[in-house]
């Protein structure tokens, strides 16, 4: 269900390889927190995003900022370098093998949701994902800060001319995006092993989601993310072996029929 959260990164228009790393770091903060200071899961949900968000802010201010104004491909490449470095540092620090991370007892087990039994933890993750999506949507669409962020991504020069510090807005947006990636990492930790490469798959899926959904309406991105989450859940039952390929096949179909993405306007298809 981290899929639902990855939608958000697409919305913030700062999709890059770094999010996979931040996702992984979020999980590791939770893991080490639990190991070293017995940080409870719920506290990790707050601590990890803050810690990783600050790390992201540092990266943005020190490095990424230098690359704005260039071809956005350089930003992508820099974050790829970041992936290589951080993954190997974590491999050196934690080993290549994954470590298990258990959810709190209250969320273990299964709940009867009427027609079937469903793991309680997954229900919790879906709940958190919905709440986060709604909050992000509300902030972006209904608050002055959100209006500025949207304006700054659409017409940065004009927004600067109006006397708004766009640089700060971009840094803030980046940090929030990174914090959300870390949150997704904490949420995903109990479902999979905490390991240095855990972010790789998620970031490639995210790329596919962004291509499928297209840039544009926020509702559209969220819908795409949830629809794909559902598709993968169903796909896991019907043909498990090729479930991982479903999302890419869908991406191909969408590209053939609507190159700008399901919800993107043709003008934004750049």
């Amino acid at each position: 269900m981290a899929l639902g959260l990855s939608v958000i990164f697409g919305m913030l228009r700062i999709v890059n390889f770094a999010h996979g790393v931040m996702f992984m770091l979020g999980a590791f903060v939770a893991y080490y927190g639990a190991q070293l200071v017995h940080l409870p899961f719920y506290a990790a949900l707050i601590v990890a995003p803050v810690v990783v968000g600050l790390f992201g802010l540092l990266i943005e201010v020190v490095f990424l900022r230098r690359l704005y104004g260039l071809d956005p491909l350089y930003g992508l490449l820099f974050t790829f370098a970041l992936v290589l470095i951080v993954e190997d540092v974590m491999r050196a620090a934690a080993g290549a093998l994954g470590s298990p991370y258990s959810p709190p007892d209250a969320l273990a087990g299964a709940t009867n949701i009427g027609f079937t039994l469903f793991p309680t933890y997954r229900l919790f993750v879906i709940g958190v994902a919905i709440v986060v999506c709604v909050v992000v949507w509300y902030v972006l669409e209904r608050t002055p800060v959100g209006a500025r962020v949207r304006a700054a991504t659409e017409a940065p020069v004009l927004v600067r001319a109006l006397g708004i510090d766009t640089q700060r807005l971009i840094s803030l947006t980046f940090a929030v995006g990174v914090a959300l990636a870390a949150l997704a990492g904490v949420l995903a930790a109990p479902n999979q092993n905490v390991e240095p490469t855990m972010g790789d798959k998620i970031i490639i899926n995210t790329f596919a989601i962004v291509v499928i959904g297209g840039l544009g309406s926020i509702g559209g991105s969220i819908l795409t993310g949830f629809a794909l989450g559902l598709l993968q859940t169903v796909g896991a039952v019907i043909f498990p072996a090729f479930n991982d390929t479903l999302i890419f096949l869908l991406m191909i179909i969408v590209l053939l029929i609507r190159p700008s993405g399901l919800f993107g306007s043709p003008a934004s298809a750049k």
Binding site: I204, I252, L255
Partner: protein, 316 residues
């Protein structure tokens, strides 16, 4: 433009110097590492045809490199075809794959193009992973022997190295010819100003597709050399880190300079090898990633690109 390098005396000098280094390379380092370097050099040249001369960043080129490697080793090891025939079929595979992937990916540009090629490469990765009966899954496909190519025995690493060198040199020569042809000029025009190229009446999508197929096929050729050289093809070859590796090599050497990516590949592979002998061990990406990050931040023209810019500044 940097492409001016190709026709000049300086270009010929660079080519001659590279060739000289390449000729003595197996005396200097472990021959299989030398084979890897030359294979990667051709891979980077093929990749740069797309990024440097057409302006398209593919983040999925490992699919041609690793894919063609798989086809070759599977045909030889499991179906006992002669190497030459297997390699030919693998080249056709790479070309057809490039045609399909290219046709889909050129519908979008820039960062999306990169993401789509990456996603499609992952698709092939998953298939390679799932079809373990054919690809050997995590173990890969091993060749017990390289066999011989048109009667020339290839078991000796040094002999095989020189065969690889000849093929890679021909491949590079081919890229130089393409870049300097009228076709290459149109590619350059598209990279500089796509709208204007369209206005001039060029069907840019077709040019992009042809460039993509050429690049993918050559990457496949390089992948075949690599797989046969190592007598192995595995999941590493089709993994997205390999796609990223060729991007790093090209940028490190200097995109759009033809010879730059060769330098980048040589430097990258040998550095990676020597770093792995230090305390860093197999975590070489800490060092390689840092170098690449610095390259992106500080010298985006790459080593050869910066040298050329420096030379031009002096002469003007």
């Amino acid at each position: 433009m940097t492409t001016a390098l190709l026709g000049t005396r300086r270009g010929a000098l660079v080519a001659a110097a590279l060739l000289l280094v390449a000729l003595v390379l197996p005396k200097l380092i472990y021959p299989v590492l030398a084979i890897d370097i030359i294979a990667y050099a051709l891979f980077a040249v093929a990749f740069d045809l797309l990024l440097g001369f057409t302006g398209l960043l593919s983040f999925g080129h490992a699919m041609f490199w690793g894919g063609a490697g798989y086809v070759t080793t599977i045909l030889v090891a499991r179906m006992h075809l002669p190497l030459a025939l297997a390699a030919l079929i693998a080249l056709v595979y790479a070309a057809v794959l490039a045609l399909i992937v290219g046709a889909i990916a050129i519908r979008r540009q820039g960062i999306y193009f990169a993401m789509i090629t990456l996603a499609l490469a992952q698709l092939q990765y998953f298939f390679a992973y799932q079809l373990g009966d054919w690809t050997g899954g995590e173990n890969g496909v091993q060749l017990t022997a390289r066999g011989n190519l048109l009667g020339i025995p290839l078991e000796n690493d040094v002999a095989f190295y020189y065969a690889v060198l000849v093929i890679a040199a021909l491949g590079t020569w081919f890229v130089v010819r393409v870049v300097r042809s009228p076709f290459g000029a149109v590619l350059g025009a598209m990279r500089e100003n796509e709208q204007r190229a369209i206005a001039l009446g060029f069907r840019v999508d077709r040019y992009k597709l042809v460039a993509f197929v050429l690049s993918g096929t050559l990457a496949g050729l390089a992948g075949i050399l690599f797989a046969v050289g190592n007598r192995l093809s595995g999941l590493d070859g089709v993994d997205w880190h390999t796609s990223g590796k060729v991007v790093m090599m090209s940028l490190l050497g200097g995109i759009g300079t033809v010879f730059g990516p060769i330098v980048g590949a040589g430097l990258f592979e040998s550095l990676d090898y020597f770093v792995s002998k230090t305390i860093v061990g197999d975590k070489t990406n800490i060092v390689m990633g840092t170098i690449f990050a610095l390259c992106v931040l500080l010298f985006r023209r790459g080593i050869v690109g910066e040298l050329l810019a420096g030379a031009r500044k002096r002469s003007s």
